[in-house]
Every structure is written in C-alpha cells, then in structure tokens.
Symmetry: D2
Subunit: 335 residues, 4 copies
C-alpha cells in the first residue's frame, strides 16, 4: 500500500522532503501540496506526476485522497494545521517547532489526547541519526553504567545575519534538549545559561553559550552552543557513566595523511551531517503509518517539552539565574 501524502509548505525544507518522499524512501506518494505562495506550490506540483494544489492547508487536509499530512510551513501556522489534521483523524508529521508557544503545544496535546490516539510526530531528526542511535544503544546496554553527566556540543561554522541571541536556544540548543531527553529517557528540570567570552566572529552575539541543566534523576547536562566556530558543523555528545563514557565518534569516512597531519573530515553543514537521518525519519514514519501499529517517533509531548525547556532557557539567558522547567502532568497517551 502506498501512503498518499499532502505537504503544506513548499519552501526549501518542504521541497527537500518532497524529493525524499518521491525519490529516496519507499511507500509514499505526494498527492497534494499547498503553500502561502501559490506560485511556489504550483511549481512544485508541476514536477510531480499526480499532485493537486490546494488553496489552503485546511483544504489539503480535508482532501479525501490525502492519507497523511506533512507540515513544513512557517512556525506560527503549525498549530492550526496540526489541529486540523487531528480533527480529520489524519496522521501529521510536523517540522519543528511543534508550535511557537507553550499554550499552542498544550492545545495540540489536548486535542490529540481527546482523539484517543497518537497522530502527531515532530521533526526531531537526530533521533534517526545512526551515530545517535548507536550512542543510545550503548547507553541502554549498560556498557558505561548509569549516566551521571551528559555533554552536548553544537557547533556551527557561522550563522546568518538575522540570527539573534534567543535563537542559540530556541533554534540551536532545542535539538540538544530533545536528544538529551531521548538519550537519557527522562525530563529536564532546571536550566542555567552562561555566556563565555564572545567569539569575535559573532559580532554582538553572545556566543558561545554554556548551559547547565539537570534531569529528574540528577544527571547534569552541559550544552555548548558555538555558532561561529568556523572549523565546521560539529555535533558532539558524550555521556559519562558510572563505569565509563560513550561518545559520538567523528563521522569522517576517510583517514587522510597529508601536510604533517592525519585525520578525518568534519562536516561543513547540517545537510552533510544529518541528510541520512531525514531519510530514515520519513521511512520509519511512513512504515508506521501504513502498518497502523502506532507512532513511536517524537510526539506532541516531546514537542511541548522542548518548548518548555526553550522558554526556561531564554528566561535563564536573560536573568543569569537557574530557572525551573515546569512541565504539566504527562498524559498516559505518551507513556
């Protein structure tokens, strides 16, 4: 059975997912598209054998041919499309963020809980990255004992001009927050944010930042964001356990011996580092939707929890204080 998918949002990320669904992964077909910019939607549809252009996201969701929805539109519109998909009883894959406010995330959770089953998946693709999965397996295997500290490093060579202070938290560290919750299998409870001596490549930006978080069981989490560090896009992660440590290995595939150095390549950007994770993310989502056995990927709850951590993080950034991360009670649907 081929899953018939409608895609809301045909910008850069939407187009990339459509390419993925069409040429890379198995079992899905894009049958409907929509974008605030109709020209863009039509352009994309013209390259697909069998896709209708809808005037609104809601029309697309209502289309009987559409089995499942993918939301890649502008963040502030996510809430309405996800809610409409839930209302229509259709599985919906929503790019991060799930929504731009905590309240909107709660609305989605409420609606999904009322629907009685998981319909929403959020696009935290790191959970589908092979090295992160290997790290999770290593932790879960007990090879290093119970985790006590987790170091998460998020390094970008540079950021665009419009990148603001808050974005280090809500756009950059949000991935570290989610992947930490997933790796450790517990919630984050407090956050403190400190700015290091600023990197002169970053102009007025407070960069790098060092964030210290705690989890329910007392694991200390250290998140570094260095977004102007020139040398590459480098995602680091190391869990310190009772008996040893486990860390993401470097991803370079060729050892070069040149110019008095021996080493491997560091990725240039997130595409090079995570491109394969997106493929796996969609393949597994399609397979789970088609099988009808329930979604196991990042849920509305995960989207909500990430949002709450981000809110606390921004507060901590401005106050310099340790800020509590207060989550609502977790509905049984997500346990």
């Amino acid at each position: 059975m081929t899953l018939k998918v409608g895609v809301i949002g045909t910008g850069m990320i939407g187009r990339d997912h459509i390419r993925r669904l069409t040429e890379v992964v198995s079992g899905a077909e894009v049958v409907a598209v929509n974008d605030a910019n109709e020209v863009s939607a039509k352009e994309v549809a013209s390259g697909l054998p069998n896709a209708t252009v809808h005037a609104t996201g809601e029309d697309l969701i209502a289309d009987d041919r559409v089995d499942a929805v993918i939301v890649c539109s502008w963040g502030p519109t996510h809430e309405q499309y996800v809610l409409a998909s839930i209302a229509a009883g259709k599985p919906v894959f929503c790019e991060k963020p799930l929504a731009t406010t905590t309240e909107a995330c709660r609305n989605i959770i409420d609606a999904e809980v009322a629907s009685g089953k998981r319909l929403v998946q959020v696009g935290f693709m790191r959970r589908y990255d092979a090295p992160y999965r290997a790290l999770k397996r290593a932790i879960d295997s007990g090879a290093v004992g119970a985790p006590l500290i987790y170091y998460s490093g998020h390094r970008n060579p540079s950021v665009p001009e419009h990148y603001t202070k808050d974005m280090a938290i809500v756009d950059t560290a949000v991935h570290d927050f989610d992947v930490t919750r997933w790796l450790l299998g517990e919630e984050l409870t407090t956050i403190r944010v400190q700015a290091a001596k600023p990197n002169s490549h970053g102009g007025e930006l407070q960069d790098p930042l060092l964030m210290t978080l705690e989890t329910e069981r007392g694991v200390l989490v250290q998140v570094e964001t260095s977004v102007n560090i020139r040398y590459g896009y480098d995602i680091r992660g190391e869990v310190v356990g009772e008996d040893g440590t486990a860390a993401l290995a470097d991803t370079g595939q060729v050892v070069l011996r040149t110019s008095n150095s021996v080493g491997v390549r560091v990725p240039e950007d997130w595409r090079e580092r995570f491109i394969a994770a997106y493929d796996v993310e969609f393949q597994e989502w399609i397979n789970e939707v088609v099988a009808g056995t329930g979604l196991t990927g990042p849920s509305s709850w995960d989207g909500y929890a990430a949002q709450v951590v981000c809110d606390a993080g921004v507060k901590a950034l401005y106050s310099g204080e340790r800020v509590q991360i207060e989550l609502a009670t977790k509905p049984g649907l997500y346990s």
Copy 2:
C-alpha cells in the same frame, strides 16, 4: 513510474533483495519470482501483494509485466538468465559472479555488445559503500597525489567448513580486485600469491594469503585475506600516493571508554558492514533503469575482468609464480 521487477532465485540473498525493493528503496515493485525450488518461490510470492510465480527463469524474463530482471540464483545458472534478459532487451541485475567461467563472461559481453547498449549490472556492492565512495573521491580529488601503492585488507572472523583454498581468491579477494580496479580506474596486469604462516584457527587452510598485483600504470596492489582472524569483519583500504595517503576510516559510531581502553566497534560480519551499500546499489540501479539514461554501475566488463583476475590468482596460488592477467580488448560500449 514504478519499475516492475522479476527476481530469479529466492534463497537468502534473493529474499533480502526482495525485502529491500519492497520496504527500503523507492520506485520498484516485485511482480514476478522464480526459483529452482518452487515451494520457496511460492512462499515468497505469498508475502507480496502482486507477484506471479514462474516455472522457469526464462518464463519470468519473457513476462510482459517484467520491466527488469534480478538474478540471485546459483552461480552456474547466471549466464543463461543474463543472456535471456539481454535477448529480451531487459535490464538485468546479476549478483556476483557474472558467470563462473571466463568464456561465459565473454558470451555475455558479446551478446550485450551486439545488443548495442548496456543492459547488465553486476552486484559488486562495495562501489556503493559510503566509505569506499569517500575514498574514491579523495583519490580523484588529488589530495594525496597520484596513487602508487594500494593496500586492501579483507578480514573475516571465520569461514564455514566448506570454505576451500581457492575461495580465498574467487569468493573473498574478488571484491578487493573489483574495488581496486574501480578505485584506481585501471586494469590489473599481474598477480602473485603467497601464503603466510597458517592461522591455526583455519585448520588445513592456507590462510592468511598475501597477494601482490600490478596495474597497467605500475601501481602495486597488496591484497591480504585473513579469513579466520576472530576479532571481526574488517575491511581495510589505503592508497599511498605521491604526497600522502588516504584510507578507509574505522566505521564504529560510538567511542567507548571502558576497561582501560578507548575505541570503537569493529563490525561482526559483512551484513553489519555493507547492509547500507546494498540499499544504495539498488536505489541507484532502479533510478538509472527508470530514467533510461544508461547504467553506470559495475558492467559485464567488470564481471569479466574480475573473473580473469580470479583465474590468474588461482593459478598463481598453486604455482607460486607471478601470473599475467590477460584481458581481451575492451569493447567501446564499456569505456
């Protein structure tokens, strides 16, 4: 457009490819199967939504619904099915070996050349492995200068009881031969084989072997087969150039610090090491067949050349002498 595929041979490897075509890669559907063991073929077909069982491989090839053929049957039958596919003008993916004798390989080349276009692809999956591709890119980039020596290491933890002396060459080193030709972009011209002190885990087997080959331009190639080396399935490759060297990196994705050691995992077997390469191999084959723009994967010529190197290698193994590798003139179709 979905490529409709018929699969001849529903043993272990055939079933794995059917799974791959059905669940992993995009753009293909298995519509016909055949096996010498009809029970096996029927069992496999029953798990597919839309597949016919054919009494013979030739029937399957003749089926109008079949756009392209995959041959996974017993080696000695490869020639007939590949020839029949060429006769039918249908693209055919043949698992290695292309055929079991040099003469049979030449028959296939002759038929394909007569047909006027490339229809045959041979299953040398290493060319689709990400680390090998990164190695080829590194060589081609000139980062280490012109290649002068290539070391290829093929290590297996163990081999089955029926593994014979010749198999170190025709079953094991054949992959090294093909990938060397591809990495360096030139033919092998001589081979010498030496047995080291035998590994006691290998019983009477002459293992490890060290093979020294030369290429057209004088590159020395060293192939080590160690097929009882216990520690893991470890595929090594290092090109020594004029200015530096480039080597396959270790593939472990997690750095473990435990028990006074820091390191990464070595794969257990070929599945763990090359599973992803098979996926890419089939996805690219499907895409090229569908696009109709011509095949770029390992050709009949590559299958033939590997066979000739193997024949020379076996001769060298028994004689202890350096043996010439004599290839026919390469038809223009393969240049």
Copy 3:
C-alpha cells in the same frame, strides 16, 4: 657541575624523587636526607653513596654541602621548610601544596619577594607533561583562535577510603586549576560547584562534580572530577577557540584490533600517565638552578593562586553559590 640536593621527606614520593635524581635525570646528587621518621631516612641514605642523615629539616637546609632543597614532607610542614630555604638563600622545590593555608602561602611569597629573587618551585608536574605542553603550544600558535571555553576532565578509577568530599577540590581539581591558569595565561575569578547524580561506586561521596569557573578575560572553564569511574585514569582537556578546538589526544601507543573493537589503552593510574612528566620537571629544575638564570616553573604565586581557588571551591561546594576568587596584588617578581 653537579647540583647537590637535600631531600626532606623520605616517604613514597620522596623516595621516588631520590630514585629519579639518582638514576634518571642528569646533573644532580642527593647528599642529605631527613624525615620525621629517622629509620626511614637512614634506610634511604644507606642506598646512596654519599648522603648524610640530618636530625631536622632545618639542619639539612643549613648544611653547606646542600645547594638546593626538595620538600616532600607532610603538607603542614611545607611552610617552615620553604621559609627556611628562602632564609638560607637556597633554591627549594616543594611538592604540592605549597602550603596548607592561604596565609602560609602569602608568608612564603612575602619572604621570597623580600629575598629579591625566585627561589621556590612548586610541584605542579602537569606543566612538564608532553601532551599538555603540545596543547599549550597549539593554543599559543593561534591555530584555534582565542580561547573561549576550556574543558578539563579528571577521571580516576577509584579513590581510597579516606578520600573526603573536599579532596575532590583540594587534592584532585587543584591540578586542573593550575594547568588551566598556565594554559590560558590568566587568573581564575569565580567558581561554582555542582554535584551530579552520585556514582554508586563512591558510596556517600559527592562524585562526580562539575565546576564552572571564569577567567579574567571571560573564558568559561568547566572542570569535571569523576573519581570512581572505573575505566581508567583519564585526563582530558579541550580548549574551544574562535576558529576551532585543541584537545589532549589519547595517550595509548598501540592500536589493538581485538574482540570486535579497535582502540588504544587508557592509563591505569597517575604513575602510568605522568611518570615522564616528573622526570622532565626535575631535569629542567636542575638545569635552571645550575645555570642560575632564574626559575621558570610553577612559582610561589602559582602555589598561592591554586590555594585561593581551592578555598573558594570548597566554599562553593558547600554553598552551591558562585564564589569570587580574590587574589592579592601580584608582586612584580612573578610577572
């Protein structure tokens, strides 16, 4: 010229230094020893060709044959012997700590400043470790740009029964404090200490600890002490700069491929890791004393500064607050 040395304290560390002076490094001879336990002193002297046993440390310092003094006695006695050496105008190498209170350290500084020249060196041997020196060269070369963050990891497989909460700071992290000051070339200004989820191997101990310090120029310093982490004695250090990072490499000298793993050895204890550093430390001290061109190793000021950081660290450990590190004005002698 051979430097004639007197050694106060003939316990484990004193005996090791005497062995080093006698058998390993060049240019020194042990001519006098003293220990609170006279039996121990006599035992050691009996193994030396030419050494007198003195009843007191002061007698040893006063001995005309003694050119320079090495203090390896119990910490609380360091102050008196160092002061007596300064009074005698003799160079003195004092094992860490320089003294056990800030006030004692200041007394030493005052006396040394009054003497008009540097006579005191403190035993912070990491500054003589080849990997740390290579790290300092890398930082100073500008290869990674200006330092912004420094991570220092201090991991021990286990600690003795008598190891207390404070010792993680005053015995363990003190090395990280000193080496950080040296690597970055600036003073530490604040410290905060957080306990992670406790390692169950450590019983009641608060272990691991994560300390966050700041430097004068705003570099953030993260010190991890994990003193029950079983897997080995592992000293980590990574400076994050504006353009890249530089880190201590693993020190294993042999890559082992065994049991599905490829990796190198992690040291078992501090001896294995730092034995060579002690040799270099003493050779350079001897050379500098003999040359009379002035000492360049860790000074009284360094001993004092480390003590002040430790005091602040202990306060921070108990309060949970960020504590200021208040240093006196640095005398010109140490600039």
Copy 4:
C-alpha cells in the same frame, strides 16, 4: 659511579650524543673525544669541563680514564674502532652500521666471542622507542595471537640529492629489518623487492619500494619505503596475528579541530619522531655498563644480521628475484 666515556667522531650525530650524555641522561661523563677533523674535536672538547682530545681513536680507546667508547665516526672506520675496543676489553657503543661489509661484521663477532663476553652494542634506536616497545609488549602478551604478517612502513617527506637506489635498503629499510627481527624474535630468511610506479618527486629514483620477506617460522613481512612522500616522517607498523592486530598508534599529542578536519600531527622528521628513543637508548646502555650485569641491547649479531639482510636486499632489488638470506651459525654468546 659515573661512567667515563670517550667519543670517537664529533660530527652531527657525535655532538648530539655528547649533548645527551652531558645534559640529558644520568651517570656518564665525556672525558675524551677524537675526530678525523681535529678542529672539530677541539671545539667540542672546549665545551666540556673535563675532556681530553686524542690524536687517534686508538689513543682514545687506550686512555685509562676511558671506561667505555662511543663510535660515531664514518661507517668504514667502525670496524677498526670496535675491534680495538674489544681488544682493550672496553664496552663500545657503535652507531649503525656496525660495519660496512658482512666480513667486517663477522670479524667483530669473532673477536667478541673470543673475548668471552658481550662488549658491543649497535645503535638501532627504534628498540628504545616507547611506541615500538608498547607494540612488542602487545605482541608478547598474546593479545593478538601468534604473528602471521608484519607490515612495516617507512615514509620520509624527502631525501637528499645524493640518496641512491641502494640507500632505500641499506640506509632506510635497515631499520625496518632490525626492528622486525626484534619484534618477532626470529630471523629473516628471504627477501624480494619490487618497485612501484615511481613517485615523480623522486626524480630517477625507484621509489616507493615494496619488499616482501619471510621469517624462519613463515611470517610474511612487508616493508614499504616511500622516501619522497611529502606529508611527513611516518613510521608505521602493524602485526597481523591469529586473533587480531596490533599497530603503532599515531604519535600526535593534540587533536586539532580546524578547517573541516579533525586530526593529529605527523612528525616532520626522524628527530621529532625518535629523539626520545636516543635518550632511553643511552640511559639504558650506561646503566647496564655501570651495573656490569651484561648488555641486552642490539648486539654484534644484530648488526651482522641486518647487514646480511641488506646485502640480500640489494641483490633482490637488482635481480627482481627472491633472494635467500644466509646467516652463519649464531654463537651462543648471542642467544
């Protein structure tokens, strides 16, 4: 007791050893020097507190103040000075080669055997290199099982103009031959030499060379000399055993993450790589001579065996054939 040493040959290597004996290692004093160039000898002596200049090497050897002799003169003179030292019953450290002909080596062996005890040590410093020693320990520990293959790689960035074809064997690979014999604890029995496609940086030189040797027990040894490979001075070694492999690790001490690469430094030249090995070599020689318990370093036999392998290697280089390495019966003194 201080060992009083006379040094014959005050060129570059002689001066470096004098510096080493005077400033680095413990327990020796240079009391006599000689050089064919008297001006050089006097210059060196003037920097030493207590050294006589002798008109001839023989005079130096005869000097009663001289306990032990170090020979760093021109190769063809080694034989006479080593024989004179043996005749005088004095321990002699001879830089490699022991002598320039097999016959001369045998003369030395005969004289030493006649003297009844080991007096001669040859300057194969690799046996004192920490990574090689760690490799030998790993082999001897049985961690990888019995050795079956040994790969030895000797890479130089460039060689001087006067470097000839034979020197790749007698000057370069000679170190690999000795260290292989030592690591494996057995003699080499055959050698074959093949030239790869020549490195264009090497002009007319046959470079790189690939040599295949066999040992008494059938271990295959592969020696690569690449002496124009630009990227660095890189000494590689990997033993392939029955259960795994052990290899020299890279020696860089700092991991740099810069410019889309992560890696460590490769040495620039042999000084950077082996400087510490020379220190250990002399310290252990001094200690053994002073202790009078017998020499354990590379012996006359080792110097002789290396010479025989070199002779066979040069023959193999010109003939292209496999050449037998024929050793005399080993006197009991060396077992």
